[in-house]
C-alpha cells in the first residue's frame, strides 16, 4: 500500500483512532461527510471561474479578470454577494414549498456523491448490494425539487421552466438508465466498487479493461453522457433555464443564497452524474495503462472529472440550444432505441466471450452501426442540411 | 406486540387512509392518490409477511412487491392519461360529473 495513493485513507484512520471506540463509526462518518462537503463545493467554485474564463475565450472576450490573480477569486466575490443579498419571497408564492425546493435540489446530489468511489478504498458510503441503484434513486428526487421550485413561485416562467424540466428529466432518464443497465448486465453487480473491479483486468499486457474500450461500452458511454448532459440541464439541453426564452426557468423567483443553492445543486448534479459515468465506463479511479499505476488513484478520478468538465464547458461554448420538440424527439426517437439496441450488443458481447477479438467486434459493430446509419439517413431526409442563402 | 403486528397495523392504517381518500375526494387525481396509498399498503403487507412470517418460499414477498410496483406504475400512467383526456374533453376532473357513457 503505497503512501500517496492511500494518504487520505491513512489520515482518516489516524484521526479516527484518537477517539474512543464507541464513537469511532460516527467520527468516521462525520469525516467522510465533511470531506464531501468540502471538496465538491470547492471544485464547484473553481469550475465556475474556469467556465466563465473559458467561455470568454471562446467568445473572444477576457472573462472575469478583476478579483484576485487573473480573476481566480471571482467565486469568493460571487459567494459573498449572494450571501449578503436580500432573500426575496414573492407574495403570491407558496412560501413553505418555495423554501424547501432549493434543499430538495441540493441534498440529493450530495447523497449521490457519497456513493462514488473516488479512489482506492475511498468511498464514503459503500453499498455492496445496491450502490448504483441508490445513485439513480437519489437522482430522481431532483425532479420533485425542480417541480416544487417552479410551481411554488407562482410565476408563468417558473412554471414553464419546471414543466420543461420535468418532461426533459423524465425523457432522458430512460436512456441514462438503459445505458447503465448494460454495464450492470456485464458486471453482474450493482456495486460501484465491483464495477470498477471488473474493469481492472489487463488486456494485451498494458491496457486496462475499461468498459469504454468495448463496442457496447463506447456506444453506451456516448449515450450516457448525452443523457447526463440533459439530466444536468447543461447546454445544449438547458431549455428549462433558457435565459433568452423564460428568464431563468424554474428559479426565476429565487434570489440571494437560495439562488446560489440552485446553482450549486446544478453543478453538484453534473459532478455526480459525470462521476458515475467515469465509474461505469471510464474505469473509475483506474489508470488507462498498467505502467501509469504509480499515479495516486484519486488523482485519476479527479483528473478524469476535470477533463469531462472541460469537454462540457467546450460543448456549452459551441453548441446552440435545442428546441423543445427537437429535444423530445431526440430522446424518444434516437437515444431510447439506440440504448435498447446497445443492450442487445452488450448481451451479444457477453455471449461471444470465447470468440476471437475481431469476431466479437464485428457483429457488435454491425448491430449498432446499421441502425445508426439508417437513422442518420432518415434524419437527413426529414431535415435536409440548412442552407444559408445570404450568409455565405 | 411483535414487530410483525406493528407493521401490519401500519399497513392497515395506511390502507384505510388511502381508502378514505378514494371514497371521499371528488377530484379524480386525488382519488388516484388514495388508490396509490392502498397499493403501497398492500406492498408493505407482502414485505411484512416475508420478513416476519413463517416464510415457506424465500423471496415470494419481494418478487410480488416488484411486480406490484411495475403494475402500479403502468396503472398510474394510464390513469393519468385518461384523466388528462377527460379533462381535455369535458373540462372537469370531478368524478361525479363524469357519469355519462355517451361521448
Amino acid at each position: 500500500m503505497d503512501a500517496p495513493d492511500q494518504i487520505f485513507v491513512l489520515l482518516k484512520h489516524a484521526v479516527v483512532s484518537w477517539f474512543p471506540t464507541p464513537v469511532q463509526p460516527w467520527i468516521s462518518a462525520v469525516l467522510s461527510i465533511g470531506a464531501i462537503l468540502a471538496v465538491y463545493p470547492m471544485i464547484f467554485a473553481l469550475t465556475t471561474v474556469i467556465e466563465r474564463k473559458a467561455l470568454g475565450r471562446i467568445q473572444n472576450r477576457p472573462g472575469p479578470n478583476r478579483v484576485g490573480p487573473a480573476g481566480f477569486l471571482q467565486f469568493a466575490a460571487d459567494g459573498i454577494k449572494s450571501l449578503t443579498k436580500e432573500d426575496i419571497v414573492p407574495r403570491a408564492a407558496d412560501s413553505v414549498v418555495h423554501f424547501l425546493a432549493p434543499l430538495v435540489v441540493v441534498v440529493p446530489p450530495l447523497l449521490a456523491l457519497a456513493v462514488l468511489p473516488v479512489g482506492r478504498n475511498m468511498v464514503a458510503l459503500d453499498l455492496p448490494e445496491t450502490g448504483l441503484l441508490f445513485f439513480l434513486m437519489v437522482g430522481t428526487a431532483v425532479e420533485l425539487g425542480v417541480f416544487m421550485a417552479g410551481w411554488s413561485s407562482h410565476n408563468k416562467y417558473s412554471l414553464l421552466g419546471a414543466m420543461r424540466a420535468i418532461a426533459q428529466l423524465l425523457s432522458y432518464e430512460l436512456p441514462l438508465l438503459l445505458s447503465t443497465v448494460s454495464v450492470v448486465m456485464l458486471t453482474g453487480s450493482l456495486s460501484l466498487n465491483a464495477i470498477i473491479g471488473h474493469q481492472s483486468e489487463v488486456h494485451a499486457g498494458v491496457l486496462l479493461g475499461w468498459n469504454v474500450f468495448t463496442p457496447w461500452g463506447a456506444a453506451g458511454a456516448v449515450l450516457f453522457f448525452i443523457a447526463a448532459l440533459a439530466e444536468a440541464n447543461r447546454s445544449p439541453f438547458d431549455l428549462p433555464e433558457a435565459e433568452s426564452e423564460i428568464v431563468a426557468g424554474y428559479f426565476t423567483e429565487y434570489s440571494g443564497f437560495k439562488f446560489a443553492l440552485f446553482f450549486l445543486g446544478e453543478y453538484l448534479g453534473l459532478f455526480a452524474v459525470s462521476g458515475l459515468g467515469i465509474t461505469l465506463f471510464l474505469g473509475g479511479w483506474l489508470p488507462p495503462l498498467t505502467v501509469l499505476s504509480w499515479v495516486p488513484s484519486w488523482l485519476w478520478f479527479f483528473g478524469k472529472l476535470a477533463v469531462l468538465m472541460g469537454i462540457f464547458i467546450w460543448l456549452r461554448g459551441t453548441l446552440p440550444r435545442l428546441r423543445m420538440d427537437q429535444l423530445m424527439r431526440f430522446a424518444w426517437q434516437f437515444l431510447l432505441p439506440m440504448s435498447l439496441i446497445n443492450l442487445l450488443v452488450a448481451a451479444l458481447w457477453q455471449y461471444s466471450t470465447p470468440w476471437p477479438h475481431l469476431l466479437r467486434w464485428l457483429p457488435a459493430a454491425i448491430l449498432f452501426g446499421i441502425p445508426y446509419l439508417l437513422y442518420h439517413r432518415a434524419f437527413l431526409r426529414q431535415h435536409p442540411p440548412r442552407t444559408y442563402r445570404y450568409a455565405s | 406486540m411483535s414487530a410483525a403486528t406493528l407493521h401490519l397495523l401500519l399497513a392497515a392504517a395506511m390502507f384505510c387512509i388511502g381508502l378514505a381518500g378514494a371514497l371521499c375526494r371528488r377530484n379524480a387525481i386525488l382519488v388516484l392518490i388514495g388508490i396509490e396509498l392502498m397499493l403501497n399498503a398492500a406492498n408493505l403487507n407482502f414485505l411484512t409477511f416475508w420478513k416476519y412470517g413463517p416464510q415457506p418460499q424465500p423471496l415470494d414477498g419481494p418478487v410480488f412487491v416488484l411486480f406490484s410496483v411495475a403494475i402500479a406504475a403502468a396503472e398510474a400512467a394510464v390513469g393519468l392519461a385518461l384523466i388528462i383526456a377527460i379533462h381535455r374533453r369535458y373540462r372537469t376532473t370531478q368524478l361525479e360529473e363524469i357519469s355519462r357513457l355517451r361521448g
Binding site: 434513486m137 | 403486528t5 387512509i17 371521499c24 396509498l37 406504475a73 374533453r89
Partner: protein, 191 residues
C-alpha cells in the same frame, strides 16, 4: 445482531412520516400539496422497507414512486388546473367514507391483534435479500410473469400516449414545424 426494541424511536419516526404524509395527502385542500405529501408518505414507506432489510425494494420504491409516479401526479394536477371552480364541494359525503375507513381499520386491527401471535412465529434465520437471488428468481421461475409485465408496460406506454394525444376535433394542436413532436410524452406541450 443485538435484539432491537420492537417499538424503536426510528420506527416511530418513520411510521409517523408514513401516516402523516398519507393523511395529509388525502386531506389537503391544495392538490399540489396533496401530491407532494404523497411523495413524503412514499419516501416514509421506502424507509420502512429499508428498516426491514429490503434495500433493493426501498430504492426501487423511491425510484418508481417518487421519481415517476408522484412527479406524474403533480404534473397531471398542473395540466388539469383549468377545472377548479370556486363553489365546488371538496369531499363527497366525507362522513360515510371516513366512517367506513375507520370501521375497516377497526376490523383489521382487531383481527391482527387477535390472530397474529399464533399465526406469525418469529423466523429462525432472518431473511435476507440478495439482489442476485432476486434476479435469478425473476429470470428463471418468474420468467413468464416477467415477460407479461413487460408486455403490460409496453401496452401501457403506447396506450397512455394514445389516450393523451389530443383528439383532432376537440382541441387543435399547436402546429409544430415538424409534425409529430413530443407525441410520445404527453407533457411535452404545455397548454
Amino acid at each position: 445482531m443485538p435484539p432491537e426494541p420492537v417499538l424503536s424511536l426510528a420506527f416511530a419516526i418513520v411510521a409517523g412520516l408514513v401516516l402523516g404524509g398519507s393523511v395529509a395527502a388525502v386531506s389537503c385542500r391544495n392538490r399540489v400539496h396533496a401530491g407532494l405529501f404523497l411523495a413524503v408518505a412514499l419516501v416514509g414507506l421506502a424507509l420502512v422497507f429499508l428498516r426491514m432489510g429490503a434495500e433493493f425494494l426501498g430504492f426501487i420504491q423511491i425510484l418508481v414512486y417518487v421519481g415517476a409516479v408522484a412527479v406524474l401526479i403533480v404534473f397531471a394536477i398542473l395540466l388539469t388546473r383549468g377545472s377548479d371552480s370556486a363553489h365546488e364541494r371538496r369531499s363527497n359525503a366525507p362522513g360515510i367514507g371516513i366512517g367506513l375507513a375507520v370501521l375497516l381499520w377497526g376490523v383489521l386491527a382487531w383481527g391482527i391483534l387477535h390472530r397474529s401471535p399464533g399465526a406469525i412465529a418469529t423466523p429462525s434465520p432472518p431473511p435476507s435479500m440478495a439482489v442476485r437471488d432476486l434476479g435469478e428468481r425473476l429470470l428463471r421461475e418468474e420468467l413468464l410473469p416477467l415477460q407479461t409485465v413487460g408486455l403490460l408496460l409496453t401496452a401501457a406506454l403506447i396506450g397512455a400516449a394514445l389516450i393523451a394525444l389530443p383528439e383532432p376535433g376537440i382541441s387543435p394542436r399547436p402546429s409544430g414545424s415538424h409534425g409529430s413532436a413530443g407525441t410520445e410524452t404527453p407533457p411535452s406541450s404545455p397548454t
